[in-house]
């Protein structure tokens, strides 16, 4: 027994060390964002933000471009999430509840499209957007993001729809509900975890996306947050990099998504993990 508890103790210590290493970059962003540049200029790093302030944040927010970018990112992300949920839900319903001609080709197409690397297509997408006048346009951007996320989410939701037995709905219909009512009252709530999971996936993809935005959104007024941050870093790097301000800017981009992720994480993983790998 004694030996066992020593092993457990060692493993716990190891786990904590690994956790600290893993979280260190995130902590370092937080720490540096609070420290004045005079402290960061020192050749000896300061590991705790004692005497720190929010000055770097004030400075990063000063020219107002952050809020423009935030607006663009929020609009594109939320439109993408809404579009993806509706479209993917309908698609998932079709392939898990119906047998129809072309069903297999449809699934194969989804899987193959999911493999298409955005990195191999951005020039063509740029050309297309410029020829239809949708460069620097929120609708164009949303269309591209939706198409990039939909194949995976249809596939993902299909598992959830298939997991809700149609018998439940039929039983409700026997009890006198209409098909629509049965769907809304019985099936839909059971699908909620799947919809949350797909929504989170779409949210993260659209919020973090860099490549397509880099190519399509060329005007300053239309930059998303990742592009804003890159521009911010580049502007700061022309002189000696103002790391405090750059880290504050990174915090501004990262914190909303980290908070969002931590809130929905529990719901998401309980939905996803349950039954995920049942043998």
């Amino acid at each position: 027994m004694r030996r066992k508890s020593i092993v457990t103790g060692l493993l716990t210590a190891l786990t904590v060390v690994i956790a600290l290493i893993w979280v260190f970059p995130v902590y370092w962003m937080f720490n540096s964002s609070l420290l004045p540049n005079s402290v960061l200029q020192s050749t000896t790093p300061t590991f705790l933000p004692i005497g720190g302030s929010l000055d770097n944040f004030t400075a990063a927010l000063a020219d107002g471009t952050f809020f423009t970018a935030l607006g663009v990112s929020l609009t594109v992300t939320l439109s993408t999430v809404a579009a993806v949920l509706i479209i993917a839900f309908l698609g998932a319903l079709a392939i898990s509840r119906f047998k129809f001609k072309g069903r297999k080709s449809f699934i194969l197409a989804l899987l193959l499209i999911q493999m298409l690397p955005a990195e191999g297509m951005f020039i063509a997408q740029y050309k297309m957007m410029s020829s239809v006048g949708l460069l620097n346009n929120l609708i164009g951007m949303t269309l591209l993001y939706t198409a990039a996320v939909v194949p995976f989410t249809v596939w993902m939701l299909r598992g959830f729809v298939a997991g809700v037995p149609a018998e439940l709905e039929e039983a409700a219909m026997v009890d006198g509900l209409s098909r629509t009512q049965a769907f809304l009252k019985i099936t839909f709530p059971l699908l909620a975890p799947g919809l949350v999971a797909s929504g989170v996936y779409a949210f993260l993809q659209a919020w973090n996306e860099f490549t397509v935005a880099l190519v399509i959104m060329t005007e300053n007024q239309m930059k998303t947050l990742p592009l804003w941050l890159r521009g911010f870093v580049q502007a700061s790097a022309t002189r000696e990099t103002d790391w405090g301000m750059v880290m504050a800017a990174s915090m501004l981009v990262a914190v909303p998504v980290i908070i969002f992720f931590l809130i929905v994480q529990g719901k998401m993983s309980s939905g996803l993990v349950s039954g995920a790998v049942k043998g």
């Binding site: 698609g91 079709a94 699934i107 990195e119 050309k127 190519v215 993990v273």
Partner: protein, 320 residues
């Protein structure tokens, strides 16, 4: 978009494992409903991807030069771009580098993720929780923000990495990691692995938690040793999860773009550090040579499909 792909835990595994509830499928012979249901998906995909893929194919057969920048239409040159590419050593160096990068990054990610999953299973709740929260924080970081922090960590003058290495007696004072292709890629791999391990570790952990304790207990009662239980129960049950996360990592790491681009921004020499994504970007956006850029893109599409073919086929098999 897929470079940054953060699929939620175990999502790709899900479709695989759920037995198709075939009896509940409505075998409607004449209903048009399913076609209407898939119509929006098809419209969006054709609108956003149909034209680009076609354009890419057509353009890869055209020659772009200085004249085309002044509006002269590009002429068809047949397979010239492909021949130029396939006979240029530069392309093969980039392809080789991309494949090597993708193999190293993906196998490291899966190995580390697997070990961390086992660790999570062994330790108590507190240790596990601390590790999981750390992983979630790293996972949730937007790529560009994460890259910015990493560039600061490895900054050659005041970065904390060099400072720590010096404390450990390594002569890293003022060392610029991005100046040399080898250390550039070492850093890139560390960053990519750091970003992708959380997904893999949590997926594999989810897989491990699904193995019922009773089965293991029964095996133990029948006299199976720890190793035998691992060998005959845990490994076979975990193999599908492992192979899927490995394939997904291979596909994602082959197209890594943002990390390389931002490290190049921060001081890497682009010509010696290009992977397929940044190479296409440089050819197309950088030098306006759309013909060549398209040919490389088509090549990359084929390569990705070849690598993922096994995955697609195994998923399709379950449809049967």
């Amino acid at each position: 978009m897929s470079t940054d792909a953060k699929a939620p835990t175990a999502a790709p595994v899900r479709g695989r494992r759920i037995p198709e509830p075939s009896p509940v499928i409505r075998r409607s012979k004449k209903s048009k409903a399913p076609l209407f249901l898939i119509l929006p998906t098809i419209v969006v995909l054709v609108a956003a991807l149909g034209y680009p893929v076609g354009w890419q194919l057509v353009t890869s057969f055209k020659k772009f030069g200085l004249k085309q920048q002044f509006g002269v239409p590009a002429e068809f040159v047949g397979f010239e771009n492909y021949i130029t590419l396939l006979t240029s050593s530069e392309l093969w160096i980039v392809v080789g580098r991309s494949l090597l990068f993708c193999l190293v990054a993906a196998s490291l990610t899966v190995a580390i993720g697997g070990l961390l999953a086992l660790l999570m299973q062994r330790v108590g709740t507190a240790g596990r929780l601390i590790l999981q929260v750390s992983m979630l924080l790293a996972w949730a970081m937007p790529v560009v923000a994460a890259m910015t922090v990493w560039v600061w960590l490895i900054d050659w003058r005041r970065g904390v990495l060099n400072w720590i290495l010096v404390r450990f007696g390594v002569d890293a004072e003022g060392h610029n990691w991005l100046a040399d292709p080898i250390s550039f890629f070492m850093i890139a791999i560390i960053i990519v692995v750091w970003m992708s391990v959380p997904f893999v570790a949590l997926s594999i952990y989810a897989g491990l938690t699904q193995i019922s304790g009773e089965v293991l207990e029964a095996a133990a009662m029948d006299g199976a040793t720890g190793w035998q239980r691992t060998r005959h129960i845990i490994i076979p049950l975990i193999t599908p999860v492992l192979s899927i996360v490995l394939l997904l990592q291979l596909i994602w790491d082959l197209r890594v773009f943002t990390q390389i681009k931002l490290l190049q921004d921060a001081g890497g020499f682009a010509n010696e550090t290009n992977l397929l994504g940044t190479y296409i970007y440089q050819l197309g956006v950088g030098s306006g040579d759309y013909g060549m850029a398209s040919a490389v893109s088509v090549f990359m599409l084929i390569l990705t499909i070849a690598i993922s073919w096994y995955y697609v086929r195994s998923l399709m098999k379950e449809e049967n």
